[in-house]
Amino acid sequence: MNTASTFSPARVAPNLSHVWGGIWRLTVRRFLLPGHWLTLGLGLAVLTLLLIGGGHSGSPARFLDWTVGFYITFLVPALSFVAAGGAMRDEMKSGNVDYVLTRPVPRPAFVVFKFIAHTIGVQIDFLFAFGVVTFFAVSRHVPDLGWVTIKLLFGQMLLITAFSALGFLCGVISSRYVVIGLAYAGIIEAGVGQIPTQLSRLSMTHQVRDLLTFLLGGSAPVTSVPSLISTTSLVALFGVIFVAAAAAIFSLCELSGPADS
């Protein structure tokens, strides 16, 4: 049975920088599809309506509260999660599995590269949304707009990365990743995150909301004074753990079912 010596040794493992290039090319094309731009356009229109409705009346402070409390820590994480979960499920469909994952790319490398490429695309998408938010911030005469914009953008990018990672993990686990996401949101973000103890640091949105509120001149939470470095490190650590778990699970899972047999 042992015929290993009969065959020439396997070719060297593929150059991972080339693999990254290939995954980037195939991923970024999806962001250039007309359908994607149409969806983005509709999303921006809805966001504009929400901004008109949610932040129309009141002071700049109320506008910032709405932006941090609804846009940055609810809308951005939710949409990032759904987009990432969908992207990962797409990769697990036969149309992609048969062409991409039959090639000699280590599966953990595939997940990591796919995550990076996808997250870059989503970050760019949300820059358009952030542009709309900034436009309304200008129209509300938000003071010290430059610094406020940088802080809000940082919070947006941090949460996109973290919730894309969570979306990848849930997408790898199940096709019903939205259900898992809702359970996570209910237990961690809406449940544990509201408990005024250190446990609330498990909630990524809670941490970023506290940080942004503090940085924008609001009051510090009861439990601790948020720090840019500790919050960023912790949320980034959650993201790394999610992606690592997704890569590990993806490496172990079989990629087809009995329907194909």
Binding site: A10, P14, L26, D98, Y99, R103, P104, S256
Partner: protein, 309 residues
Amino acid sequence: MSAIVQAENLSRFYGMILGLNNVSFAIRPGITGIVGPNGAGKTTLFRLLLGQIRPSSGELTVFGERPWNNPAVQARLAYCPESEVMPAGLRPLEWLSGLGMISGLSAPEADTRARAALERVKLGAEHWRKRVTAYSKGMKQRVKLAQCLLHEPKLIILDEPMNGLDPMGREDIAVILRQLASDGVSVLISSHILHDLEALCADFILLRWGRIPRSLNEAASADARARWPEATTFRCDAPEKLAHFLFERELLRGCDITPETGTLHARWRDPEKFFSLYHSLLLESGVRIFEVQSTASFLEKAIDPTLHS
């Protein structure tokens, strides 16, 4: 010649559903056909070979290594699936160069090889600006085959590559596969177009209900294929006259005549005797022959027990 694929008591179950059941076989270099009805286990076998699923029990090696999740094996394989699902929005060059890079090629090399592969499968450059999802079935088959050629695999696995192709297209694919085989690339191919497989393949594995029945595979063995057909159908202007002529020479064991279609279905007493004198006998009969065909191919006979009997 060493087997490139070896399976010993290989089984794969999906819960209670049978995929492959305790099969043992070896695949030698060259073109090998995988034949069986729907649900016989062909795609399960392919997925095992590709390392996408694990065996439930038994042993499987491809190029001497276990294929499950093994990039060293995958580097030598290429797969052309039956499914026509393709990524949306991509043109063939974009798609193929991206896949080439995932196989480890640099961007310029992937681009060059993508062009060469598309030309090799005779997909004209005038079609390269269309998106692959807008292609016809036959064009999709050509692109799917092209993506197999990017990284110089040693074994290409093709699941129903002839689907949707016209006869010219099928011949084009057959020519490419023969060229690949002559270049030392092995090919594993499944198809429901059995005559094409017979013309193309040196070896066959016949699957049924997840098993490889010995009797079927003996019926499709090289020995069996070397034998003359046991029955032949002639379409001619005078089937009765031809039957009389063949009976007189004690060549026929029996026959059926259909005057409406002008066909004679001849069952040979000694097929070798007839086929050794094939031309002279038909000339001597004085009957105008329009068409001669073996009533059932050996593969059809092998997978259809009613024909076999």
